[in-house]
Symmetry: D2
Subunit: 214 residues, 4 copies
Amino acid sequence: MFVLVNLKAYPCDPVAVANAAATVADDTDARIAVAPQAAHLSAVAGTGVETWAQHVDGVEHGSHTGSTLAEAVADAGAVGTLINHSERRLRLADVDAGLRAAERAGLETVVCANNPRQVGAATALGPDAVAVEPPELIGTGTPVSQADPDVVEDAVAAAAAVDESVPVLCGAGISTGEDLAAARELGSEGVLLASGVAKADDPEAALRDLVSGV
Amino acid sequence: MFVLVNLKAYPCDPVAVANAAATVADDTDARIAVAPQAAHLSAVAGTGVETWAQHVDGVEHGSHTGSTLAEAVADAGAVGTLINHSERRLRLADVDAGLRAAERAGLETVVCANNPRQVGAATALGPDAVAVEPPELIGTGTPVSQADPDVVEDAVAAAAAVDESVPVLCGAGISTGEDLAAARELGSEGVLLASGVAKADDPEAALRDLVSGV
Amino acid sequence: MFVLVNLKAYPCDPVAVANAAATVADDTDARIAVAPQAAHLSAVAGTGVETWAQHVDGVEHGSHTGSTLAEAVADAGAVGTLINHSERRLRLADVDAGLRAAERAGLETVVCANNPRQVGAATALGPDAVAVEPPELIGTGTPVSQADPDVVEDAVAAAAAVDESVPVLCGAGISTGEDLAAARELGSEGVLLASGVAKADDPEAALRDLVSGV
Amino acid sequence: MFVLVNLKAYPCDPVAVANAAATVADDTDARIAVAPQAAHLSAVAGTGVETWAQHVDGVEHGSHTGSTLAEAVADAGAVGTLINHSERRLRLADVDAGLRAAERAGLETVVCANNPRQVGAATALGPDAVAVEPPELIGTGTPVSQADPDVVEDAVAAAAAVDESVPVLCGAGISTGEDLAAARELGSEGVLLASGVAKADDPEAALRDLVSGV
């Protein structure tokens, strides 16, 4: 199971969460990555944790002021990137372009989608993985694996129908080891989570509980 | 073969083009539709030609000032709609929502895409048809079937890999009966065209030449 | 006072509301306009009511599939247009381009803005009028003139500081003659309203009550 | 004169340019800042050069995956930010929100605009400075001060008509000391430049030539 901790624009200390994630990953052999703001990437990567970007734009080197260039996030230490998170939805053509930009820069990719149909579409664009996150459950604390288990199973089926080699992560409301185990039962190979760790009083304890479900 | 004439925001007389299309469709049994600006839909539909919208938003009835509501274009006489044209690219989630809105209003749908990979993704969202239009060829007068025949064949294969029942139209640079015949040879079941008819001195003659390729 | 009834994407009968507005305007000498979906413009204009568009894009004739061309809405009978409604916010450069497009097509313009600072900015772009609508009050039924009278007075001051000749309309929560009278007291020269008329059981009665405040 | 070097998404070494800028600034007392990709901010700030962001989003701490949070760029060492660059145009309401976010994080602000009218609008939103950059001249090597001196003078007048305390920078095609001197003559208090330094074989020499115009 891959655990990807999205720090969004939360008022947490990204380095403290990264250190906690690095410690738990070392102790447990779990694969845990942290995705901070682009401006925090080099500080987070400095902790030794697996570091991801939250977004890259589908642009090449050139006149793109204010863009997030895949090569720049890779320079800063990112080894992967989310694309099309529900808080940063992209045009279909830009999901495609973002994937090509990430590939060019050697970044692993997870494309997010809202429902099984969109998971199928995202899979057709050739990402390393897809993630299903029903927007109505994000940030609720109610895990998608409990609130709507069918959406996870249907997403796994939708991805497999297009390309069996693309794993499905699941997000929205995941915070405990039990949630992670349930997500695995439903066929997902990882989880996206955010507030459950980033806003925890003790991120390290939250991560230890989470990976106990592996 | 389905011939869809997109009037874009051209300074043509939409009713004159619609009358020409209606006449040629009647005379030849070709299926020809005209897609004008939303504000011109009722005038175009009044000619009796098959009338399409150029775009609908993925919204329901409600507080959506300045949107293009699927039910409103259907009221005005549209029976189908383009979605995600390269001049009106939508977010992946909004292509999905636009398709659901169009279905709800009883509109037939063609989702446009730039390349075979995006055609596969569009097909996964469940449209009635998809169209491949390499943006670099739009408006050039060089037909995609000649400039880049592989892109048409690859698009047909990409759609079939996801759902064999979804036909592929092809666009970009189509203007003659020869172009249409070539598009058909490559596996497409229709064409999108715009300037070749809308900017023609004699739209009726242009359409007659075009459908001679059927 | 100018009364602009925005039908948004409401499930109302646009022609029935337009007829009610035309009747009340005739009976009372109030200036009342109706802004329907683009696809409904010609039907609404056919009633004889003053007809406005909800939006125009900042484009010229050309390859702009799915756009709302100012000339097309004028063809369909619109004599004015909203620009930058809070449900259709535009980039600063596109507010400017939309205004120039509307001018070119002979449309009167009202640029919407969320707060006095943005009203000042909108005024600098040279519209015929500006409107202040705090987004948090839209659709609440609580009139801005009551919930936040300062925002109306400040908007009037902000517009005047940039260009004294640009009148300020006010929107958000307006539905009664009392609300309209209060808006006038605060310095506004018109009102934008939507659900108060469009969703009324009896739009004509709602409009008669409203203009009784003039 | 303030010299702001925008590195866009150019394939330059941001630290090398930053070191060159820091050296020239030290030697000449010119005010020179460098604006890299967000992911490069901390590396650039580490050189001691005045560091700016290319963009911030108008968001607060919270669920905003893939955003550029003003506090995050400040953490990474930025002391100012561009907003609404022509390659990253924002909605009018988001220019306002971006300015408020930057203020909250203690960042100095320059809002970019395409023409004098938009400069007036930007000024009304309360930035620390505005910049006029006609998009058609960006990257041409033809300085706006030479190609279209009126646009600079008109921009200075437009800003002053709204708020006399807001200085105007000028951009587009600036690369030599002569260009900078011309910009100053026309009333601007600084310049934005990009390729003239970022793509120079010797950025330090390019900057020395540039500030010789002060």
